[in-house]
């Protein structure tokens, strides 16, 4: 049985102690492995049901450009190398005027009817949804990762202008999405800011180039009456106070092995923010025994609870995570009091 009320209590930081669990999302290659092991249908939903997930993440879909264009086109008019840091179509630009031919996305092209229908089927679950708003990745895709970071020095005005333009778009999608129904309870945004060791860019650069936009995204979600969960992989300990101040309600995924992100270090914020994640997925749940996983759930909950959704520290569950460990995590979370 899922427990939506307990999950709502967690995200509003008023839990009195019921365990809440979100398994994340099984990777494509993970689904048949778990299905075979558990004798269930090879679908993500069957896995969620087996694990008695309290939550569902339903990403928005339905971007229907009249000419079939994707929402984002970082390789527009060019041959783009397939490495993740490859230069994108903004790499050579010096002014916004030069980007006039880029097919900027438009929220008007979204038809959310299928997303709303999917959310309606999960009315007894806590639903995370809304545009993922992967701002930094979208920027680095369009400029090229290295170009983007160097342009913080070389052409900050262009970086700020493009960031503003992207943010305008994301805000418009948020408002369009939440003008319909049902939309779930949580706006889930994902802006990866950290490496294993620290932030990609300094806290000062973050505050200048990204935080104003993050504030706008959060404000848009709040205007629509939603709690806001923010995802960032990596070490972001330097800016957690900034995120709390900006209005983030729930922090995800708490990459436990990244610098400054262990549960014991995050515990200082437990009265200021709710958590989702925290069970290390980089190596622990890959290699641990089910009994060790259960112990770790209790340890993390003891440090960060009660306002935490127990979940892996990376939402995509890779095929090297044993099915037994996911079951152990779910069972241990459900047993928490």
């Amino acid at each position: 049985m899922s427990n939506k009320q307990a999950a709502l209590d967690v995200i509003h930081r008023r839990s009195t102690g019921a365990g809440v669990f979100w398994s994340g999302r099984p990777a494509h290659d993970t689904i048949p492995l778990y299905a075979k092991e558990w004798g269930i249908a090879p679908t993500a939903e069957a896995i969620y049901e087996t694990l008695q997930d309290d939550c569902r993440y339903i990403p928005i879909g339905g971007y229907r450009h009249p000419e079939g264009l994707a929402e984002w086109n970082p390789g527009w008019g060019m041959e783009r190398n397939r490495s993740l840091g490859a230069a994108g179509c903004f790499a050579e630009a010096e002014t916004m005027a030069e980007l006039g031919n880029y097919p900027w996305p438009d929220a008007a092209y979204y038809d959310f009817s299928e997303t709303y229908a999917a959310i309606a089927r999960q009315s007894d679950k806590l639903v995370f949804s809304g545009p993922w708003c992967t701002l930094l990745t979208t920027l680095t895709n369009h400029f090229g990762m290295q170009n983007y970071f160097m342009m913080l020095y070389d052409n900050p005005a262009l970086i700020e202008a493009v960031t503003e333009r992207f943010t305008d778009y994301y805000v418009s999608v948020i408002h369009k999405f939440y003008s319909g129904a049902p939309t779930g309870e949580v706006l889930f945004i994902g802006i990866d800011l950290g490496t294993q060791r620290d932030l990609f860019l300094s806290a000062e650069q973050f505050r200048r180039f990204l935080l104003p936009s993050i504030r706008r995204l959060i404000a848009a979600g709040k205007q629509c009456g939603k709690q806001v969960m923010m995802h960032s992989c990596g070490s972001i300990y330097r800016i957690i106070p900034d995120l709390i101040d900006a209005g983030v309600d729930i922090l995800h995924p708490l990459q436990a092995q990244a610098a400054g992100m262990a549960a014991a270090e995050l515990a200082q914020y437990k009265n200021d923010i709710a958590f989702c994640g925290g069970i290390d997925a980089q190596s622990f749940i890959v290699n641990a025994t089910p009994a060790q996983v259960a112990d770790e759930v209790q340890r993390v909950y003891g440090l960060l609870g009660p306002n935490i959704i127990i979940s892996p520290s990376h939402e995509e569950v890779l095929p090297n995570v044993p099915a037994a460990n996911m079951l152990a995590m779910a069972s241990a979370a459900k047993a928490l009091r």
Binding site: R82, S83, L84, G85, A86, M145, Q146, F149, M150, L152, Y153, D154, T195, Q196, R197, D198, L199, F200, L201, S202, Q205, A259, A281, Q282, S283, V286, L318, P319, N320
Partner: protein, 213 residues
């Protein structure tokens, strides 16, 4: 001949000021510094100092990138003179992100730090098959092969490269360094790598110690 130029060159690299590097190189050559002096006591010193600050989390990825750009500007300007002076790299490293993995920023930072330490670096890019590493070792005869992986699902490919080098009879000719977010010292030992480092600056230091050994 004032050594202030060398200090300023080092500082210009650390600040990522490529135009200052250009001017200081011209000034240094005009004042009869050798290209080797300008390279080693100016450019590489600056990059090494920046690497230490990066390791200590005092500077971040953008600062490393603009410093590497300034360094490259300087080394390009000195290229002809360095050849004339017979200055050679301290070693050759073949580097790449292993098969199945498209992440490259970490690998690129290591490459920049290696170049900033005086290595010639052959960058094979991302999603590199084991046999491609083997071919590169045959062709370039490096002292070191450096393997990057960001994912727990691709780190196994690092083992695959080591096995491919063994299969080709080349394992004894190179030291293998590995790195990436999920990598640990224990994993390096398990798969038979020669070294693991947690960050780009440490990787460059390790590479220097490996070629000096």
């Amino acid at each position: 001949m004032s050594t202030e130029i060398l200090a300023n060159l080092s500082l210009a690299v650390q600040k990522g000021r490529a135009k200052d590097v250009e001017a200081l190189i011209a000034q240094g050559l005009a004042e009869d510094f050798t290209a080797q002096q300008l390279l080693e006591d100016g450019l590489l010193t600056g990059m090494n100092l920046l690497g230490v600050r990066f390791k200590n989390n005092e500077v971040f990825v953008p600062e490393v990138l603009i410093a590497a750009r300034a360094l490259n500007k300087g080394t390009l300007l000195l290229k002809t003179q360095l050849v004339e002076e017979g200055v050679k790299p301290i070693g050759t490293v073949v580097i790449g992100t292993v098969q199945g993995d498209l992440h490259d920023i970490g690998k690129n930072l290591v490459r920049m730090m290696l170049e900033g330490s005086g290595f010639q670096v052959i960058d094979l890019g991302v999603d590199v098959a084991p046999e491609t590493f083997v071919e590169a070792v045959r062709e370039h005869k490096p002292q070191i092969v450096a393997l990057s992986a960001l994912l727990t699902t691709t780190m196994g490919s690092q083992r695959g490269v080591i096995e491919a080098l063994e299969g080709a009879g080349l394992r004894g000719t190179v030291k293998v360094m590995i790195g990436g977010a999920p990598i640990t010292e224990a994993y390096a030992n398990e798969i038979g790598a020669d070294a693991y480092t947690a960050d780009a600056a440490s990787a460059a230091q390790m590479a220097k110690s490996l070629v000096a050994a």
